[in-house]
């Protein structure tokens, strides 16, 4: 995975080989630039990596599913020919009730599970709701692939972008446009209560709105995060696939970033792993390269940072090279993670009550009602983890047995809510939260506890340390209306170019944010290519 440094002068240096950094590097290399990617860890991938967490057991260490990876990036960068393949796509979602009921959403349709599940009115209403949300998501999706315009300029590209956005929304038609404006700032709780009666369905649909955020279902703005997720999914849809875009790459998420790295290298980019950057070199009021922790200096005309904005500006660059107002905005970014990741090594396939075994080929949600989810959120406000957390569970070995020894399994779960600043401290919190989740799982999958041979819990501070993301938030900065599009991460850096000549951002902290999508990396590459041209 290591390319020799060769001559130590580059057109572009990309700090960080996360998926966005690799996407950016690949596009830059294809645009004819001489590119070097510097990754601190021993393998590329950032938070999209497959790692061994117990002897013989592999898991996608942070992100564990693809749902919004841009299909056009996969195509542009020919990732299939560089080794990317899916062991599962259009994966279903199964939600478990706390009374043994379950329901499954598959291919845009709602299936009521064994023993009651869903009101028949909801089964009828679901396709209409899903279609509406998909139409809105389709209208918003192009925004994600757009370099945000600057307001109040005379530049025609800025005006064109704004007009296109307005036109797209207008083209939704009177009904959908009104609906978008009505629900855009709402709490997802209210939206779902409008549409459905079944608490389990509400809980399941509400979960995607708050997954990886600092929102509960009653938080205003949580419809926006849901639409954001769906808009990302719209870009992940290949022709003919339905709205379920959940995918599992063969070999875990590390396989995606490995393919991205190969694609970037094939296009001529160099990649050096185990090369943490100490600082960005500033010469004559512009970024001129980097200094590695090893002391080596590498020069470049442009430095593009895949690191989060606080790491980039406050640690690698230094406040003294930036204006104070800008630095204050960066320091005030909301970037505290609220999701933990639990990995279990299992000696046997778990059996969830009321669910057919094939459901484990998809994802399983434990979020029985919106109230349950809101109560789980309440704790996080006071520096506690949820006494009854919500879970997004996958058993990746069902689709990809290579991840564990024969007959063994891996369970990978997002545990919400687990605040970065746990009042009691994460030293004891890791163990107690693991025990709590295991206890919970035992209720939904009796007998699972006896099959656990190893476990690992990554709390936000672990995610911060291991993946070098300040705050341990998987979007690098909270995704909310006040940190989105024109103002993401902060005014003054929303067009990928930092307020220092030659420095750019390309990570999840910029528009359109995280989730494994790649759009930030591609948008940034466009900006770099356009500016330097």
């Amino acid at each position: 995975m290591s390319t020799p440094a060769g001559a130590s002068r580059y057109d572009c240096i990309v700090i960080g080989g996360g998926h966005n950094g690799l996407v950016c590097a690949a596009y830059l290399a294809r645009g004819g630039r001489k590119v070097l990617v510097l990754e601190a860890a021993s393998t590329v991938g950032g938070a999209a990596v497959t790692r061994e967490f117990a002897p013989g057991f592999q898991v996608s260490a942070a992100a564990h599913l693809l749902h919004s990876m841009s299909a056009s990036i996969i195509e542009d960068l020919q990732l299939s020919s560089h080794g990317l393949s899916m062991v599962a796509s259009q994966m279903p979602t199964t939600a478990l009730g706390d009374d043994g009921t379950a329901l499954t959403i598959r291919a845009g349709r709602l299936e009521s599970g064994a023993g009651a599940g869903c009101a028949s009115a909801d089964i009828e209403a679901y396709p209409g709701y899903a279609a509406l949300m998909d139409r809105l998501a389709d209208a918003l999706h192009p925004v994600l692939g757009t370099v945000p315009p600057r307001l109040g300029t005379d530049r025609w590209v800025d005006r064109r972008t704004l007009m296109q956005l307005g036109w797209r929304i207008r083209r939704l038609g009177r009904h959908d446009m009104r609906e978008l404006l009505r629900i855009g700032g709402m709490a997802v709780h209210d939206l779902l209560k409008d549409h459905f009666q079944t608490p389990l369905l509400q809980g399941a649909l509400g979960f995607d709105a708050v997954l990886g955020t600092n929102f509960g279902p009653r938080s205003p703005g949580s419809v926006f995060t849901l639409l954001y997720r769906l808009a990302g999914a719209a870009g992940a849809r290949s022709k003919g696939s339905g709205s379920d875009t959940l995918m599992q790459p063969r070999g875990g998420l590390g396989a995606l970033t490995a393919a991205l790295a190969k694609s970037a290298q094939a296009a001529g980019a160099g990649i050096r792993t185990g090369s943490p950057v100490q600082s960005i070199v500033v010469r004559d009021y512009r970024a001129a390269g980097v200094v590695l922790e090893s002391g080596e200096t590498i020069s470049a005309d442009a430095v593009i940072s895949n690191a989060d904005p606080q790491t980039t500006f406050l640690r690698l660059l230094g406040a003294e090279h930036l204006d104070a107002g800008f630095v204050r905005r960066v320091a005030h970014l909301r970037n505290r993670g609220l999701a933990a990741k639990l990995h279990l090594a299992l000696s046997d396939l778990p059996k969830f009550t009321g669910v057919k075994p094939e459901a484990l080929a998809g994802r399983v949600l434990i979020t029985p009602t919106l109230e349950y989810l809101e109560r789980a959120f309440n704790h996080s406000k006071y520096g506690e983890y949820s006494s009854a957390p919500a879970l997004e569970i996958t058993v990746p070995t069902v689709n990809d047995p290579t991840l564990a020894p024969a007959g063994r399994h891996v369970l990978s779960a997002v545990v919400q809510y687990a605040p970065y600043g746990l009042a009691a401290g994460w030293d004891s919190g890791r163990q107690s939260l693991t025990a709590l989740v295991l206890q919970m799982l035992e209720r939904y999958a009796p007998g699972i506890g006896a099959t656990v041979t190893a476990s690992q819990l990554l709390a936000p501070p672990d995610i911060e340390r291991e993946f070098r993301i300040t705050g341990g938030h998987w979007h690098h900065a909270e995704l909310a209306l006040d940190q989105f599009f024109l103002v993401r991460p902060v005014p003054g850096a929303a067009q990928y170019a930092a307020p220092l000549e030659g420095l750019y951002l390309c990570g999840a902290g910029c528009h359109p944010g995280g989730g494994v999508m790649g759009a930030a990396g591609r948008n940034a590459a466009r900006q770099v290519l356009e500016r330097a041209a």
Partner: protein
Amino acid sequence: MATEMSHFRQPLLRTPFHDRARAVSQIDSFVPWSGYTTVDVFTTVEQEYFAIRNAATLYDLTPMVKYRIAGPGAQRYLDRLVTRDVGKLKVGRVAYCVWCDDAGHLIDDGTIFRLGQTEYRLCTAERQMDWLQASAIGFEGPGKAVQIEEVTEQIAALALQGPTSCAVLKHLGLAGVERLKPFEIGTFQVEGIGLTVSRTGFTGDLGYELWMDPAHAERVWDLLMAAGQTRRIRPIGSRALNIARIEAGFLLPHLDFVSSTHTIRTGTDRSPLELGLAWLVDFNKPHFTGRRALLEEHRGTPRRRLVGLDIEGNKPAHNALLYADKAGRTEVGSITSATWSPTCKRNIALAMLNAPYFDTGSTVWAEIYLNRELVWERRMARARVVERPFFAPERRKLTPPGDF
């Protein structure tokens, strides 16, 4: 600790010189300044003004907001804060500086005193802690740390200004004070009282500023008044000082510019380049807040500039609009500060003028309203753009100063 809630009974603080000032104030004319009550006029503006230019004056500077900025990162911090090269400021020297927001718009001006290798004092007209703290983000850790503390109430200050001011200090026993160069700081002892003296001021004349422990403030006042008796020392208020500072071409916030932290209307912010302070902006020093914006402005075409005006007649053109033509058809700017200058015998003003009217030698017309016993008259007065300062006597720079 119980907090005694009595501040509302006395909304304005009193400076350590308040009792002395009240005792000699003849017309009881006090005005608020930065949370303190201070004297506007002691006797008459004219008497006080002429003392500035012909004798010696005492002005209570205590309400000037003072910050102690210290630590290994203090110099880098200040260099990033202000537009001037703080790296060039030597220990024992003072520099007049301005600082801007990211857009290159002026927040405030003030003076930086370098008191030690890593210790500075920043004196400003307005409170700045919010911006100073915002500017301190990233200045942490070994070698970079900076401490910022407001010390306004811990330091009493007096401005001693006028042609006989040096002589007064010598007479008081400040040996060697005459060797202080402009913008230099010295420390002295009088009756065992420590005095920090800087050769600075707001009058554009020979003068000093004296900094001391508030506990000794009244004693120092008394000593100065006694030492200056034969040299016609008198306390002055803000009104007389305002005439002197216009003659010297100095700016005041709220009058000649509004801090960008206070403006709410678009287009009312001002950059140091627009205010004629380009000489304070050093594009070749390490990065400072607003540099990118100011550089862009510097490379572009200037839109407006603060200039000095010499206006015909003797009626001060307070708040006057300025026109390109006598008929008053094309408005090109406005007056920010105006006065009759008794020393120059000229009707002078500071004015913000649009391009291209701000070039020295241009002529514009000031629309002056005159109140003649409540009968208002409008007069269009010819005004010529002239260089500032209007009044700059040799003695302000001479070291040692003349012994008057």
